[in-house]
């Protein structure tokens, strides 16, 4: 290679990077302006997200302080009526009892509260954005690259500005989780609506449906299986992210995993890890069985 370099001008051989001092100046300018922004607006932003903090605290204390038998009964009931499947219900009861036996009940409740709130917020944000995206190619062209960044940017990187603005705590953890978990919700809502049969839409038009009637009667119901897949993905990604979020002050199973990593506690690490897996499988099987049950009408009897 050196031989090629000897005949090429230096500029084409070694990449002509911008001068290091210039880069340093630019970096400092961006950092300072962001710090300035945080100083002047940090309190305002904190006030705006305060309701989130209350909601999170309320749900967490509700989950943790309720007698375990009530929570277990509630979970089993939800799983059964969601899936109508005895095997999934029994599996849920067994895994929750095992989690309780190894002393992880309270941590699991904290994680459950967190994942519940994150999933609800992701759905609340994701579905409207997905609908907007499906309605307009321009919105789609704008949102898609943003989602790409959200999904591929290493989570530790966007934890930096989040922590700078909110400090350490549940709310920044929640925001980090939602950033990571909302893209599949948005993408699959968009996809589901775009895949709705054009002929059924045309029929809705021919009968004089308004835009809202079309969305309510045709697009959302027909997109529901895809949207359910999105919700399922969002739950899974929230669960995966609560471990990372524990680095910025989210409690629960993630925190235990983090401590186990730091101290090389092999057993603690795996116990907490399996507890997360248990919850993940319960959520996954239940939401999938529920989604399938909603699609009962698509069973073909006549050929």
């Amino acid at each position: 290679m050196a031989s090629i370099c000897s005949v090429l001008p230096a500029m084409l051989c070694k990449f002509p990077a911008i001068d290091e001092s210039t880069i340093r100046l630019a970096r400092k300018a961006v950092d300072d302006s962001f710090k300035g922004f945080v100083r002047s607006y940090g309190n305002a932003i904190d006030t705006v997200v305060q309701p989130l903090q209350w909601f999170l605290n309320y749900l967490e204390s509700l989950f943790v302080s309720s007698p375990w038998i009530v929570i277990l009964a509630l979970m089993v009931a939800v799983v059964y009526f969601g899936s109508r499947n005895i095997a999934i219900t029994i599996g849920t009861a067994l895994s929750m009892i095992t989690i309780g036996l190894v002393g992880l009940w309270n941590d699991t409740m904290v994680t459950l509260a967190m994942v519940t709130v994150c999933t609800l917020i992701s759905i609340l944000i994701g579905i409207p954005i997905g609908i907007l995206m499906a309605r307009s190619d321009r919105v789609q062209a704008f949102v898609n690259p943003v989602l790409d960044v959200m999904q591929t940017m290493p989570s530790f990187v966007y934890l930096i500005p989040v922590v700078m603005i909110f400090g350490i705590g549940k709310v920044p953890g929640l925001i980090a989780v939602v950033i990571y978990a909302v893209p599949p919700m948005i993408r699959l809502t968009n996809l589901g609506i775009r895949l709705v049969d054009k002929e059924v839409l045309e029929a809705a038009d021919a009968f004089g449906s308004s835009t809202w009637q079309k969305l309510k009667n045709v697009q959302m119901p027909l997109a529901l299986p895809t949207i359910m897949a999105g919700i399922n993905q969002t739950i899974m990604m929230s669960l995966a992210m609560v471990v990372v979020a524990s680095m910025i002050g989210v409690g629960g199973l993630g925190k235990n995993v983090l401590q186990a990593i730091a101290n090389q506690f092999f057993t603690v690490g795996f116990l907490n890890g399996f507890a997360l897996v248990g919850i993940a499988i319960i959520f996954d099987r239940t939401s999938q069985a529920f989604g399938k049950r909603l699609q009962k009408h698509s069973e073909v009897i006549h050929g």
Binding site: V200, A206, F207, G208, L222, H297
Partner: protein
Amino acid sequence: MASHAIEVKNLYKIFGPNGRDFVDAVKKGMGKAELNETHGHVLGLQDINISMPAGGVMVVMGLSGSGKSTLIRHINRLIDPTAGEVLYDGVDVCKMNDNDLREFRRHKTAMVFQKFALLPHRTVLDNTVYGLEIQGVERKESEKRARGWIERVGLKGFENHYPNQLSGGMQQRVGLARALTNDADILLMDEAYSALDPLIRVDMQTVLLDLQKELKKTVVFITHDLDEALRLGDKIAILRDGRVVQQGTGQEIVLSPADDYITAFVKEVNRGRVINVETIMRPLSGNAEGVPLVTGTVLESAARTMTAARVATAHVVDVNGRPLGALDLSTVIAAMVTPVSHEDRAAA
């Protein structure tokens, strides 16, 4: 409420981003191929002028790509025209604003689709009330009306089935019930029966003809099947390459096809079921002889009546029994077979 006629006037549709720019060129004679090759635009319809009879069945016939589905979508403006007018009760559908158009679609039109286009997550009953639900009719009232139509199309007992649980013919009955429940003046049927088996198709044609006897809606029926067109149509328009080649009653088209293209179609038609006795009768000379045949009787049943009565002559009478003309068995049979001239034209 009496139905009104639909007048389609000078309608042009050119698909593509700048369709409007080419209307004049097409009017001056630019063809479909040239428009597509040199300008990248597709000529959908050109210079369509059809007067669709009030309270009658208008059949638009053509092969795939002839523009028939494009034409029917102009009547409720699922497709916007490039130029021209679609008049209903004196109002140009093409000039309505969004709100008026929505009201027009809700109250004046109902549509049946080739691939049924039912809502898969709704039961037969919930599909049937769809039009009324959109109009904001109270659920109890709309359900009552829907149940009536479900029964009329022969689906009683299937109200709570989902479309996927029904056969194609039954699904299209739901489509028909959905359209009829709307109680609109205009019934648009876009190849409504093309996806059905031949026997079920004939069955559904009978359902439509029976209903039409009492409903007297303005029906626009799209088909690629000439037999279906002749059976249903009070008036037929034949499209080819986005242009009307011939329009008239079934008899007119069968007896005097406008060009070789239509001759080729007509050749295969069972003429005995299309041509009426009054079309071929000769003036009455002297007394009425043989069996009486009422006007509107088709040749096939005339021949059947005459052979059953073992007579070779018959006379045509109007509904009041007044004699109008005479004919004999050989004339009837001659008219039933395809004339040699048509055979030649089709072969050429």
